[in-house]
């Protein structure tokens, strides 16, 4: 990630932007909730006050870009890991009921393992196989988790 000004960290700008956008999201949504009256706090008061606070903090942090210096080194964003880990977590949530514990663990572990450049395809499969066995032993045999070992997709 190239930086236009090596003396300054854009981090403050980013954090400020994240806080401000979250504050706007929560604040605009919370406007519709009742603020409360007669000494009573309604469901809207807390979110509204907190959104305003977050907005203020976001602005203050963003402004630091122009005065604070930083020694943070920019390291590459692990895009491959971001995509693969998120995909494998999504698949776990989406398909674990249908596929069952063993297949979903195999798929998710293999996908996640591939997000490291140091894992070859074969290594990922080996890690996945070991994890499938381990999870079967720990969660199915040991803890009796509700997920079936092999899901209805396999017609068992």
């Amino acid at each position: 990630m190239p930086m236009t000004n090596p003396q300054r960290s854009r981090n403050d700008l980013y954090v400020g932007a994240i806080f401000i956008s979250l504050a706007i999201f929560f604040g605009s949504e919370a406007r519709h909730y009742d603020l409360g009256a007669g000494g009573q706090v309604g469901p809207g008061l807390f979110p509204v006050v907190l959104s305003v606070l977050l907005l203020g903090l976001g602005i203050a942090i963003g402004l630091q870009y122009w005065r604070a210096h930083s020694d943070h080194q920019a390291r590459p964003v692990p895009w491959r890991a971001l995509v693969l880990v998120c995909l494998s977590l999504f698949l776990f949530g989406y398909a674990s009921d249908d596929l069952g514990l063993v297949p979903i663990v195999f798929i998710c572990t293999a996908l996640t393992a591939l997000s490291s450049t140091q894992n070859s395809f074969a290594a990922a499969l080996i890690i996945a196989a070991v994890m499938s066995l381990l999870c079967f032993a720990v969660f199915k045999l040991g803890l009796g988790i509700n997920l079936p070992s092999f899901g209805p997709v396999f017609g068992l």
């Binding site: 960290s9 981090n11 403050d12 980013y14 954090v15 994240i18 806080f19 979250l22 929560f26 949504e29 909730y33 009742d34 000494g39 009573q40 706090v41 309604g42 469901p43 807390f46 979110p47 907190l50 606070l53 977050l54 903090l57 942090i61 630091q64 604070a68 390291r75 590459p76 692990p78 890991a81 971001l82 880990v85 998120c86 494998s88 977590l89 999504f90 776990f92 949530g93 989406y94 674990s96 009921d97 663990v105 998710c108 572990t109 293999a110 996640t112 393992a113 997000s115 490291s116 450049t117 140091q118 290594a123 996945a128 999870c135 720990v138 969660f139 803890l143 009796g144 988790i145 509700n146």
Partner: protein, 502 residues
């Protein structure tokens, strides 16, 4: 003396072969399952509850309690080794424990956690035996105004969790507080920020946030540049504490034990404050506050002791009043009822062997845990020699299973994605995850108690000042603010509020 004969009865019960075996099985299972990332004591006990059906009540409860405090030990192991706290208390341990592990001091961190927990567990159990009923009456005095004031103080004090930018730490706390408001409002039924998703009516799952911002975000950090630097945790040099380190942890362990024992008794949210408060106290009283956040052993010793002491004393409201202090206690209450016993004021007198048996077994269990855990440190540390490229897929998978198994709800796993990415983005930019979790945990309680206090007072805000305990606590809060503000007014730097970017 009454206490002695009661304890004799208790130990007689607890030392029966059946009970001692199941106590051991309980603490062993608790430790092992607590070690699994993303699986805290709640999930563990929920999954193992059916096993205890066929047991006698004493045996069942001895085993379930064993799982509970065993999982407390195990949970800190995961927090230290792979930065993955399974519940709010070990989130604090992760802060300095994981930094110690990264510096090759995992053994010392684990030993400190085990020894601190043992000391705290023993003292708190003794307290439970000697003074459960009078302590319970203290718990009863605490109403919503008192809790509100207590949590305000807790929040103010705990800003010291941050070791980097003060503004960013405040931002993370506020973000945590906002996230805590997601879900159906308990007072009016208004759905807040639910985006039309019924899954969000119950709010965001704590474990999803913790696993996301601690565990998954840390994995992304480690995968940033795999070739350029060493990934994961350094190999371990020593397993045991040096004489110097023993000296350093003695006072934090004792302070943590005292703090945790007191806060654990309060069923309305005291126990969650225990480890946060202890961390803040240690940082404040340390001669080297700058070490905190970078592997200070006191930052492990204090919170771990406080956490374990609170875990034991949180049995007090349950055993004496029938009031569960937190979800795990609610599960144990369920176990009592399954056994045909409704815990309450009469249990101590009507079922003495049950009450004293459990108390005695807690002490025995703590001894077993320390005997079990000290040799295990070597095993856990060996785990670190598993190459990181094989370890992190396992962490992600375990975490997914753990989150999923709490409610069998895919939504909790999706939440991990959101918080993993958000947490990574924020941490990459110099924010820290612990204040966010603190805000999330305390946010719900803060709003709950503020609003309830006002409802009960029919809308009169003076209730917070007229009530002596809450007035004193709020005054303490004001003093903390003033003291914190003074140095910056004078233009002096205060470590806690330092503006330097970590």
């Amino acid at each position: 003396m009454d206490l002695l004969s009661n304890l004799a009865l208790g130990f007689e019960t607890a030392f029966s072969p059946v009970n001692i075996i199941w106590c051991f099985v309980g603490v062993l299972l608790g430790t092992l399952v607590g070690v699994l990332p993303g699986i805290g004591p709640t999930a563990t006990i929920a999954m193992l509850l059916p096993i205890t059906f066929t047991f006698s009540p004493v045996t069942a409860l001895i085993m379930l309690s064993g799982i509970y405090y065993g999982a407390q030990y195990g949970g800190s192991t995961t927090a230290i080794l792979i930065n993955l706290p399974g519940e709010s208390s070990s989130a604090v341990t992760a802060v300095d424990g994981y930094q110690m592990a990264r510096r090759g001091r995992a053994g010392q961190a684990l030993a400190t956690a085990a020894l601190g927990s043992f000391f705290a567990g023993s003292v708190a159990t003794l307290l439970l035996a000697m003074a459960a009923p009078p302590l319970a009456s203290v718990a009863i005095r605490f109403g919503s105004p008192e809790y509100f004031a207590l949590i305000v103080v807790g929040l103010l004090v705990s800003i010291s969790l941050a070791h980097g930018s003060m503004l960013k730490a405040l931002g993370m706390i506020v973000l945590g507080l906002v996230l805590a408001t997601v879900g159906q409002d308990a007072y009016t039924g208004t759905p807040r920020f639910t985006l039309g998703q019924l899954e969000l009516y119950g709010g965001i799952n704590f474990v999803s946030i913790a696993v996301g911002v601690f565990g998954v975000a840390e994995i992304f950090r480690n995968l940033e540049d795999e070739r350029g630097r060493e990934v994961g945790v350094k190999h371990v040099t020593h397993l045991w504490l040096s004489r110097e380190e023993f000296r350093r942890i003695a006072a934090p362990v004792m302070r943590g034990t005292a703090l945790g024992s007191i806060l654990g008794i309060l069923p309305g949210g005291g126990h969650v404050l225990a480890s946060f408060a202890s961390y803040a106290v240690e940082k404040k009283s340390s001669k080297h506050p700058e070490e905190f956040g970078h592997g200070a052993i006191e930052g492990v010793a204090g919170p771990e002791s406080a956490n374990n002491a609170a875990a034991q004393t949180s049995f007090i409201p349950l055993l004496t009043l029938g009031i569960p202090a937190h979800p795990v206690m609610a599960l144990i209450l369920g176990a009592f009822i399954l056994q045909g016993i409704v815990p309450g004021p009469k249990v101590i007198s009507s079922q003495p062997e049950l009450f004293w048996g459990i108390v005695a077994s807690m002490w025995i269990g703590n001894v077993m845990l320390v005997i079990l855990n000290l040799p295990l440190i070597g095993v856990w540390v060996k785990l670190l020699s598993v190459p990181y490229r094989a370890l992190f897929p396992a962490i992600v998978t375990f975490a997914a299973i753990g989150c999923y198994s709490i409610n069998n709800n895919p939504f909790d796993v999706y939440a991990v994605i959101v918080f993993g990415v958000l947490g990574y983005a924020l941490i990459r930019c110099g924010c820290e995850p612990a204040p966010l979790l603190l805000g999330f945990v305390l946010g719900g309680l803060l709003e709950e108690h503020l609003r309830r206090a006002l409802i009960i007072a029919h809308g009169d805000p003076m209730v917070f000042i007229q009530n002596p305990i809450s007035a004193v606590l709020l005054a303490v809060g004001v003093i903390i603010l003033v003291v914190a503000a003074l140095p910056s007014i004078r233009g002096k730097r205060d470590e806690v509020f330092a503006e330097d970017e970590g």
